[in-house]
């Protein structure tokens, strides 16, 4: 948090934070304090919480769908959030209120979740494969609608640019309002998923085995999907679309802490958070080029994921 366009000594940062928390009574530089407390700290916290959300959601999706390629976006939640956000920008709502964009993104992500479940549920039963297919289909439809709004927005150069930036994942100018939006979704979803993590471990052995071991499959699966959707929607609402971390982080942590989801959800979130924080730091320091966090995560995450695939080819075959 000492890095940025305004030079602030490393030693000043903890003093400022302690002072703002009422734990330090000495004199501090007001300008530096405002930059750290109202500028860099909220941005850091948003990156941290978004990372936790996407890493955790990716772990759940890979576990539930028993598919190493599953990511937080597999059910179309991120496409729904993207459409909501793009509409909020295009209709001018985002310029009217700071929370309009995250609010629209969350509403649309929840709507998408409801639609996916409505499509996949028949006579009270929700098929996992139909959920996946419905998610893929809605992903395509919502992606097309987002592209349509982008096409309309090209008339307004400034609006088009804001939309494109948001779709690339952007943490520029994040404030405490954004932190307040993503904190509840992350905490609720993290606690919820950790509560059901043991059930997810059993679910990964197969539905029949899980049922024999006394797990209420439908309840556990639906809650886990709901929690992962909430954290994905909340994260995308404040950061835009940040790719690859939700896919890569669980893979890396699985090889380090093992497949137990009680640990894996937390540590995948932690790794994703660290990854996004450093990606954002890189973006902030390279001011000469208009980089976006989503670009950095995909550019670094993609090749690294390919390396993992090549290294663990056999392991993936048995997943």
């Amino acid at each position: 948090m000492s890095s940025g366009s305004w030079s602030i000594s490393v030693s000043h940062v903890p003093i400022i934070i302690l002072s703002k928390l009422g734990l330090y009574a000495g004199a501090i530089n007001d300008v530096e304090a405002t930059i750290v407390w109202d500028g860099r700290l909220p941005r850091f916290l948003v990156a941290l919480l978004v990372g936790f959300s996407l890493g955790g959601a990716g772990t759940i999706m890979q576990g539930i769908f028993k598919n190493p390629m599953a990511s937080p976006g597999v059910m179309g939640i991120d496409s729904g959030a993207a459409l909501g956000a793009v509409l909020a920008i295009y209709l001018g709502l985002a310029s009217g209120s700071l929370i309009a964009l995250p609010f629209a993104a969350i509403i649309f992500s929840i709507l998408t979740l409801v639609m996916v479940f409505a499509i996949a549920t028949s006579r009270g039963r929700t098929s996992i494969s139909t959920l996946l297919l419905a998610g893929i289909a809605l992903n395509l439809v919502l992606g097309a609608l987002t592209s349509f709004v982008i096409t309309l927005s090209t008339r307004e150069f400034d609006v088009g640019r804001v939309i494109v930036n948001w779709l690339m994942g952007d943490l520029n100018n994040r404030s405490w309002e954004h932190v307040n939006i993503v904190i509840p979704t992350t905490i609720i979803a993290l606690l919820g998923t950790l509560y059901f993590a043991k059930d997810l471990n059993v679910l990964m052995l197969g539905e029949e085995t899980a049922a024999n071991l006394g797990v209420n499959i439908k309840r556990a699966r639906n809650w886990l999907l709901l929690f992962s959707s909430i954290e994905t929607g909340g994260a995308i609402a404040v950061s835009g679309v940040i790719g690859f971390v939700g896919l890569v982080a669980p893979h890396i942590m699985r090889s380090l802490v093992g497949p137990d989801n009680r640990k894996l959800i937390f540590f995948s979130g932690l790794l994703a958070a660290v990854f996004i924080i450093y990606a954002d730091l890189f973006v902030r320091l390279i001011v000469a080029v208009d980089l976006k966090v989503g670009i950095v995560t995909s550019m670094l995450g993609g090749p690294f994921f390919l390396y993992l695939i090549v290294k663990h080819r056999k392991q993936f075959e048995y997943m």
Partner: protein, 343 residues
């Protein structure tokens, strides 16, 4: 299933209620400009030079094509020669700036159609006239353009290559104009267009009028020890640099474009912290947004000179996009904002 539908309907209703558009977005302050804006606009909209004997046709025009390469943030230019068989009588401009220039120097009966952006009041100073007159085509409606049977289409260096290629295939004569970002380049383009359409004296008269009005404007600007440092900050946090028309506007009115001062070439995104570091005297934001309120209420920016003095102003988009003789109107409008308090 019914449960899901009820939940969905409830959320849509909630969303619609919450999606109320901003009511007081981007009100532009009422100002008194150094030059009478209405008069200036009228003068720039119709210019006729001394009647001269028509130049020879066919004619050969040697010119320098200058374009901005957004990938490398640099200009490229090359010497070219244009050969025109006869005086063009059915002309179509494919960009707003070109339409505005032709509106001033070309007999209007020779303009057979206008691009949609020339009819958009947020982009064009002649939108009302274009709407009255028409016809209007959308940028990608190449078939419509071909259907008007023009004998000259003015494209610009950033016009779609598909559009240019289709014109070529239909054997419609077209001319690609270069960079329009500064008042000097605009004057060059005016003279070139005058040559091409056979209205050299009108073009020369418009260039002379621009120079005269710039002199008149400069005389009316207050003398200051230090030039005012102005920054244009848009919704995405983008700031224009040296190659932007905003930079040219600042130069005309003796102000410093902070983006250019800090080394930005075309456009670059900056965060609030950088804005605070660069500390402009005045911040210009696009109208029809609530950006002023957002900047004024931001705690990081509360130490910025412009925020402390309340010098954040909305400017309608049309003034910020001007790339024709109407850049003078933009300069006049912004000069008033930065040198005088709003009334």
């Amino acid at each position: 299933m019914r449960k899901y539908i009820i939940i969905t309907v409830c959320y849509i209703a909630y969303c619609l209620v919450a999606a109320t558009p901003p009511s007081a977005a981007g009100r532009v302050q009422k100002t008194v400009a150094p030059l009478d804006m209405e008069r200036l606009k009228n003068e720039l909209s119709f210019v006729r030079g001394k009647a001269k004997a028509e130049g020879p046709w066919p004619r050969e025009i040697r010119y320098t094509f200058k374009a901005y390469d957004y990938k490398s943030d640099a200009f490229r230019q090359e010497a070219k020669t244009l050969f025109i068989k006869k005086k063009p009588l059915r002309i179509i401009p494919h960009a707003v700036g070109v339409a505005e220039i032709l509106w001033s120097i070309c007999p209007r009966e020779r303009l057979v159609a206008f691009n949609e952006f020339a009819a958009d009041p947020d982009s064009s100073f002649i939108a009302d006239k274009v709407r009255e007159r028409g016809p209007i085509f959308k940028s990608k409606e190449t078939e419509l353009v071909i259907g008007y049977q023009p004998d000259l289409v003015f494209t610009v260096f950033y016009s779609s290559s598909d559009f240019k290629e289709k014109l070529k295939q239909a054997k419609i004569p077209s001319f690609d104009l270069g960079y329009f970002g500064t008042i000097e380049s605009i004057k060059e383009q005016i003279l070139l267009m005058g040559d091409i359409i056979g209205e050299e004296s009108n073009a020369l008269a418009l260039v002379k009028l621009i120079d005269k009005k710039i002199r008149e404007l400069k005389v009316k600007l207050p003398l200051r020890d230090h030039p005012v440092r102005v920054m244009y900050y848009d919704e995405g946090g983008y700031v224009p640099g040296t190659s932007s028309n905003f930079n040219s506007i600042c130069k005309i009115i003796g102000a410093v474009n902070v983006g250019a001062e800090q080394g930005i070439k075309s456009w670059s995104q900056i965060d609030y912290e950088t804005l605070l570091k660069w500390n402009p005297d005045v911040i210009i934001v696009p109208g029809r947004t609530k950006l002023k309120e957002q900047l004024m209420s931001n705690r990081v920016l509360s130490y910025s000179r412009a925020i402390k003095s309340g010098s954040v102003y909305y400017v309608p988009g049309v003034y910020l996009k001007a790339d024709s003789q109407y850049m003078l109107l933009s300069a006049d409008f912004i000069a008033d904002i930065i040198y005088r308090q709003p009334r």
